[in-house]
Amino acid sequence: MSNSISNMNQVFDKLKDLKTIFKLGEKVIPIIQNLIQFMGEIVPLLETINKSISDSTQKIPQATNQINDVTSATELATTEILDLVDETSNQLMEVDKVIGEIKERDKQANEKFDELVNKLNGDETLVKLINEYKELKDNGSNIDSISETMQKINDNSYKITLSLQVQDITSQQLSAVNHLIESVNDKLTTMVQEIDHSDIKQDFEHISASIPQGVSFDANAKYDPGHDRQDKVDEIVSENQEKATQEDIDKLFS
């Protein structure tokens, strides 16, 4: 009899447990339904994100190629400018040579005039006439002025050349941008592959950004034609020139 009561109690306990489970189920089922509905909505959204990232990533090689094109174009244009500046400098040198010859001939002509004046035996009319002619023919001051102007043109041409250092500096800045784009490309590619391993992976096998390998650049390169930067460099050089030891070298390259 006592065994039967005990068994019945166990049955009631189990029924109570079941009742609790059913009550919990009543509460959980709507949550699970909501979760299923949420998943149903989120999957297309994820696919949209996936597609969007995929599209963006496919455009990245185009962006890097365009940046490389800009670098090539500016280098080409800079080379053309340097060619023209060199040609101008060479022409100025040729003109300068001719002016030198003219000056020399003028000097010789003046010597001849002096010789001529000496041989006129004091004939005042002829001396006066000869001197007037000499003055009219004398282009010394004009030639000096031309030489001065040419020197200025030459100096300015050289300054143009120096300003073209900006091309190297901007190309390093563009290389830094390319490097950043490449990093974003890598991250996006990895992310998309993780979202949808099968389909997108195939898409990305066709994508290859033509970023040059082994490129070294200074991301902080800047065109600052003032003296401040070089002054700071000189200060550091003078502070450190004597201090570097083999130990420092090993530390830097370890």
Binding site: T79, L82, L164, V166, S216, P225, Q230, N240, A244
Partner: protein, 125 residues
């Protein structure tokens, strides 16, 4: 002393600007290299080169690696090296000096600065 320069820079523009500046200073003998590896090949082929002007950032082998290679080579270790680079932060300068680069110029440079550094190096040779 007859100077023959090795001008090392991957930028054709910069090589031309450095060479033009050298010509304006009266130095007409030079050889060009496009990166550190090319520079080492040029040094191996031409023993009359006695001054190196190098950029830092270059593909294949940087100017810093080139300088290190020069200093580590018994035949080349005494070559004067002038680094001409955009890198102007202290760590970089100290790093270059640590491998015994003789002097350091930041881009964009002026001919006066280039002359000063060349003269300073030559005075200490």
């Amino acid at each position: 002393m007859d100077l023959k320069f090795l001008v090392v820079d991957d930028s054709v523009t910069m090589r031309r600007i450095v060479i033009n500046s050298l010509k304006n200073l009266g130095y007409t003998s030079y050889v060009e290299a496009t990166d550190g590896k090319d520079a080492l090949a040029k040094l191996a082929a031409d023993s009359s080169i006695n001054f190196v002007i190098t950029d830092w950032n270059m593909p294949n082998m940087t100017g810093l690696e080139l300088s290190q290679a020069i200093r580590g080579d018994a035949n080349l270790s005494k070559l004067p090296i002038l680094m001409v680079t955009t890198r102007g932060v202290k760590e970089d300068i100290v790093q270059a000096l640590a491998i015994k680069v003789n002097n350091y110029v930041v881009k964009p440079f002026t001919p006066q600065v280039l002359k000063e550094k060349l003269d300073a190096i030559l005075a200490n040779l």
